[in-house]
């Protein structure tokens, strides 16, 4: 607005009366009718990796998934309390083709079998955002790949992982699968206990520069 005023003053020095009035009208139009900057409608903790813009977008999508109509710039009380069932979330276009979608929803679900709340949804988007750090991503990726939830990636987890990666139509023979899992364990299991724990997983991740860009979802 200061810039506009300055320009107006410069212009006023050399202009005729009609031009000045026209300019004034334009300035008033711009200043008074400027929309207020969008603020997040709820008291969300600002310690996520998400920007305000992304939180607003997430709010809109969450409300759509709940089946409610989107009303801009108004606090929605339902937002804090309702939960989206896991099946609905798995159908969103960003996750529909992902073989790990059910695992992702399960990992970020804070209460078992009750779906995701808005905070869970924000957690998920934050961990999978572009600006999240590699440690956070590695931590959540480890939990996603831990199919049986025992805190380490054992042979069964690795087998499920490989089956998800290659899809249902393709089938690696039993010998091949066994050989593959043995190779993975030989490479990443440093303490040789037959499973991959979090630090060994992080060791592999730090050596792959493209992990951060592939473990990412944008709405």
């Amino acid at each position: 607005r200061c810039v506009l005023l300055y320009v107006f003053l410069q212009f006023a020095k050399n202009a005729s009366h009609i031009d000045v009035i026209w300019c004034l009208l334009g300035v008033i139009n711009n200043i008074l009718l400027l929309p207020p900057p969008p603020t997040p409608p709820l008291p969300i903790r600002n310690s996520h990796f998400l920007q305000n813009k992304e939180i607003l977008q997430a709010e809109r999508r969450f409300l759509e998934l709940l089946g409610k109509r989107v009303a801009p710039h108004s606090a929605n009380a339902d937002l804090l309390t309702s939960r989206v069932p896991t099946e609905t979330l798995c159908e969103i276009p960003e996750l529909k083709a992902n073989p790990f979608r059910s695992r992702v929803c399960l990992v970020f679900c804070s209460e078992e079998n009750q779906g995701l709340s808005f905070e869970d949804f924000l957690d998920m988007l934050s961990a999978l955002s572009e600006s999240a750090s590699v440690e956070v991503k590695a931590h959540y990726a480890f939990r996603v790949f831990d199919f049986d939830g025992d805190g380490t990636l054992g042979k069964k987890d690795l087998k499920c992982l490989v089956n998800c990666l290659i899809g249902e139509e393709n089938n690696l023979g039993d010998d091949d699968m066994e050989l593959l899992i043995q190779n993975i364990l030989a490479e990443s299991d440093i303490d040789q206990d037959g499973t991959v724990n979090l630090s060994e997983f992080q060791h592999v991740i730090t050596k792959s520069p493209d992990f951060a860009s592939s473990f990412k979802i944008t709405l």
């Binding site: 276009p93 992902n98 939990r143 490989v162 290659i166 393709n170 490479e187 040789q192 592999v204």
Partner: protein, 538 residues
Amino acid sequence: MTDCLAYDPLQRGLVQFYEYILDVLSGTGVLEYTYLFYGYYNLGVEQAVREKTSYQLPLAYLLCMLFCQLFCLIFVIRNSVEGFKQRLIQAEDSELNYSRKAFCGWDFNLGDKKAANLKQSGMYYEFVTDLEEDRSKLHAAGRTTMQRFCIIFIRLMVNIVVLALLSAAVALVYYATTYSQEYIPGSTIFSDVNKLGLEFVQDFIIQYLPSIAIGGLNFLLPLLFNSIMAVEQYSPSTRISIMLGRSVLLRFASLGILLYALWSGITCYEDKEDCSLCGYNDKMYPCWETRVGQEMYKLAVFAFFTTLMVTLLYQFPRKLIVKYCNFRITNWWGEMEFDVPDNVLTTVYEQTVCWVGLYYCPLLPLLNLLKYTMLFYIKKIALLNTCRPATRPFRASSSKFFFYVVLLLGFVLSCIPIGYTITSLTPSRACGPFKNDDRPWDQIVAMVEAFPQWLTVIVNFLTSQLFAILIFIVSCLLISYVMIVSSTYQHTCDLLKEQLTALGKDHAFLLGRINAASGGFTTKSSFAQKSIFVRRRH
């Protein structure tokens, strides 16, 4: 000496209409005495000789060519170095090959079902290829001595066959070139007016005979090589490298023999009499640099038209047939797969042709620029509309370095003809900027002699043998220092890895002791607590 000046490209006489088309396609006639070819750059040469202050066109021509080559060299080396660094980093981490593919392989950005299926097939084939590679390595390691001798013998035989095929191809190109050079347009058997079309076709084919021979061989011989490769029992990645190596050898050999055939014609390798007057064969080649430039021009134009024809007349109809005719054989044939290595090698080869032709046909890079721009969009449209994705994904990252090495090799090979022309061959007396010099390099010598005294002393020192020996010794010292440092780092890496393994074992041992001491209080709750901590923290 006056006989060597008999060169009149502008005199045509009665010209048939089709000859204009032939001129555009082969650079003769209308296009011969233009900026396109070496022969035109003789304006102002006499003035430059007379007055030292006027624009020295011969020197400018030579320096332009040299700086172009230097510029290209710097860029090619810079890109090869980046590819080499990437390759070194990847080679170091080939130990984590499987883990990386398993843990970081899936791209979470994929939202399309078809793309996801494609990615899954890609991962499947990567795993299968890697396992096959490991299996064949195990198999190779487990061979008995007798089997090893057998394999080595078979491989030797196959290499001899490949060399024989290459020699046959090279001889074919040689004879095609010499026949095409000795042919005079218009002296055909079809001199009847009614058979004009046939005359044009015959002229066209004979003019383009070297290009047709090279193009046909570049297409057929790799197919032949691939079919014999099955006997050699290499592992898959070695097989691909050897296949590409043989293709590269074929392409550079055919280009080399074309240049050799031209050289032997120009310098009268067989019959010394024709060259005694002017130092080159002036009856057949009154302006020989323009002829060489025309051959390079024809190669470039032919390559462009071949790609265009293949795209229009083969890829699109194939796609239409496969789409609309639902027979079993068409389904098995399928759409075309885009072969990445083949396309990259073709581009590298065409770039080598451009570098060789730079000296003789100065506007060839501009033509190449237009050609590549058009070909890029044509190939892109053809790829997106007619090709199916490759079932076996091509490991672009691992081969990037290989292609840059081939490009560098092409560059080095292209420097040889130009270097030889500038320093050893007699320039044409009838055309071009160097008609008054014995060697084009004399221009540079004259320029250096015209330098002020202190600069001449420096230049003399830099080109002396003493300086070369000094540089050699210093480079050897630097290289040995760098090698020592890198082997020390490697040793440190190995030590650290062992430490990591030992730490892991300690960790497991201590955990076991804790578990035993606390009566089996599970580690699972501590893990869950840690996860909540991470969540609240961010």
